[in-house]
C-alpha cells in the first residue's frame, strides 16, 4: 500500500537555513547539511529544500548546498528556488535532487513546465503554488517568494500545470506558514480535488494530528512541515525532531 507522506521542509535564505512565519521574519536554524543528516538518520521519507529568496534577489541556483545536502540523504530530495531555465533544472537534478520545484516561472513562463516535463519526465517536476486569501475571502496565487500578487486562482493554475506535465503540486498557504494553526483544509481540498496528480500540502502544521486531517479531509497525498520539526517548546528552542514510524502510522490511520 502506498503510504501517505509526511515531509520536512528546509528553507534556505542567502545560503543559511531559516524558518519563516507567513513568509517573513526568518529565524536562523543552523547548518542545512547537518539538519539533513539528522533527518536522514531519523529516516524521514523525503526532504524538501527550497531557496526562498532566489527569485526575489535574482541570485544563482544553490547547487553547492543541494549537492552537500543530497549527499547526506538516503531518501528523495526535492529542491527549488529561482529556477528559470532547463539548464537550471538539469544542474539541480545533477546535484542530487530527485525532483525540482518551480514556482514563479510556472506562472510567468508555463511552457517551461511542459519542456521540463518532456525532457526530464513529469515525475521530476513539481509545481509550487503559494496562496494567500484576499480580503474578499478568495484565494489568490502569489509569486516571487510570496511578494507579488497575480490575480490567478490556484485551482485554475493547478489544472493548467497538470496539463503542462507537472508530476506533483506543492501547495503553500502563506497565511498559515509558521503559525502552527493547522493546514487550510478548504484550500487544500479545493486544489487537490481538481487534479489527478499528487499534491503536497504546506503551511500551518502544528501537531501530528494535522497531517491526518489534511490527508483525509483535505485529500492531500502528502503533507510537509517546517516549524513543527525544527522548534521545541515554548521558548522555540531549535531542535530537529520527527515522529517515529509508529507515531505517524497510528496518527495517519485515524480518519
Amino acid at each position: 500500500m502506498l503510504k501517505a507522506r509526511v515531509i520536512p521542509s528546509l528553507l534556505i535564505k542567502s545560503g543559511k537555513l531559516v524558518k519563516t512565519t507567513q513568509f517573513k521574519d526568518a529565524i536562523y536554524i543552523g547548518d542545512p547539511v547537518n539538519a539533513a543528516r539528522i533527518f536522514n538518520q531519523k529516516q524521514v521519507p523525503e526532504l524538501i529544500l527550497l531557496d526562498i529568496n532566489a527569485t526575489k534577489d535574482n541570485h544563482p541556483i544553490f547547487i553547492d548546498i543541494v549537492s552537500r545536502v543530497s549527499d547526506e540523504c538516503f531518501m528523495p530530495l526535492t529542491s527549488g528556488g529561482g529556477i528559470k531555465t532547463i539548464e537550471d533544472i538539469r544542474q539541480l537534478l545533477n546535484s542530487g535532487a530527485e525532483k525540482v520545484s518551480i514556482n514563479t516561472q510556472a506562472v510567468e513562463n508555463p511552457s517551461l513546465i511542459a519542456e521540463a516535463s518532456s525532457t526530464f519526465g513529469s515525475q521530476s517536476i513539481v509545481v509550487s503554488i503559494d496562496v494567500k486569501k484576499t480580503r474578499q475571502g478568495r484565494y489568490e496565487v502569489y509569486t516571487h517568494d510570496g511578494t507579488k500578487k497575480t490575480g490567478i486562482d490556484p485551482v485554475a493554475l493547478a489544472i493548467k500545470m497538470e496539463e503542462m506535465g507537472a508530476g506533483e503540486i506543492l501547495l503553500n498557504s502563506i497565511d498559515r506558514d509558521g503559525t502552527r494553526q493547522g493546514y487550510d483544509i478548504e484550500l487544500v481540498k479545493k486544489v487537490s480535488d481538481s487534479v489527478g496528480i499528487p499534491l503536497i500540502a504546506s503551511g500551518g502544521a502544528g501537531s501530528i494530528e494535522d497531517f491526518s486531517t489534511v490527508i483525509h479531509k483535505g485529500h492531500a497525498s502528502a503533507a510537509t512541515a517546517g516549524s513543527l520539526f525544527v522548534f521545541h517548546g515554548k521558548r522555540l528552542a531549535v531542535l530537529i525532531s520527527f515522529p517515529t514510524k509508529e507515531e505517524l502510522e497510528s496518527s495517519l490511520s485515524k480518519v
Binding site: E46, F74, E98, T119, F120, Q123
Partner: protein, 205 residues
C-alpha cells in the same frame, strides 16, 4: 570496478555517492573502454523510455552493453527507468528497449476502481517477495522502498518476477534473469532497505 552508466539520464550523483560508501572502486562513465573493464554495471534512469534509448544509441553504448551483459554475463542492475529499458518495448514512445528481459513496459492502468489513486506512483510502498534473489538477501516482504514512476514492467515469464508491489494491482517491482537485475524503486533513496539492495548487488550478484 563498478561502472554506473552515464547516458544522460538519472541521478548519477546519488547512486555514486551511496555506492562509494560501500566500495572504493566505483565510477560514473559513458566511456566504452571503462564499461568494457567493468565487473558490474549499474543502469540508472529517470525520464522517458524513448529519450533513454535514444541517449544510449547516441552515445554508442548499445553494443558494448549488449556484449558485456549477454556475452560476458556481467551483472547489471537497472534502476527505475533503467529497469524498464531492460524490456522489449514501452507504451511510452515507439521505440524498442534493450530486450534482455522478456516483457514490456506499460502505463499504469488504474481504471474506475482505483480512481482515487494518482499517477505517477510516487512515495514509499512495500514489496512482496515471491522468489529468492541474491540482491534481496536479508530483505523481507513488506520492506518499504521509494517509488516514483508512471509506467511499470510486465514480464511474460513469472520466473523473472522476484517481487511485486501493489498500486491498484500487483506489478513487478524487482526482476531478475540470470545476472540481469532490475528494481523499479530507487535503492539509493530507500534508506537502510535500499542500502541492503546495493550492498547485495556489490557483494552477491
Amino acid at each position: 570496478m563498478i561502472v554506473i552508466v552515464d547516458y544522460g539520464m538519472g541521478n548519477l550523483r546519488s547512486i555514486l555517492n551511496k555506492l562509494q560508501r560501500m566500495s572504493e572502486d566505483v565510477i560514473v562513465s559513458s566511456d566504452i573502454n571503462a564499461i568494457e573493464q567493468a565487473n558490474k554495471l549499474v543502469l540508472p534512469g529517470v525520464g522517458s523510455f524513448e529519450t533513454g534509448m535514444a541517449n544510449l544509441q547516441e552515445r554508442c553504448l548499445l553494443s558494448v552493453l549488449k556484449w558485456k551483459v549477454l556475452e560476458e554475463n556481467t551483472p547489471i542492475l537497472g534502476i527505475c527507468l533503467g529497469m524498464q529499458l531492460l524490456t522489449l518495448s514501452s507504451e511510452e514512445g515507439d521505440v524498442e528497449g534493450l530486450g534482455w528481459i522478456d516483457g514490456e513496459t506499460k502505463q499504469f492502468n488504474l481504471g474506475e476502481h482505483h480512481s482515487s489513486l494518482r499517477v505517477p506512483h510516487m512515495g514509499w510502498n512495500s514489496i512482496d517477495i515471491h522468489r529468492e534473489s541474491p540482491i534481496l538477501h536479508g530483505v523481507h516482504s513488506d520492506s518499504e522502498f521509494y517509488f516514483v514512476h508512471s509506467y511499470h514492467v510486465c514480464c511474460r515469464a513469472d520466473s523473472s518476477v522476484i517481487a511485486t508491489t501493489n498500486y491498484g494491482y500487483e506489478f513487478a517491482s524487482v526482476i531478475q534473469k540470470e545476472r540481469i537485475y532490475g528494481t523499479q524503486f530507487h535503492p539509493e533513496k530507500s534508506h537502510g532497505n535500499g542500502s541492503s539492495i546495493l550492498k547485495n548487488f556489490i557483494e552477491r550478484a
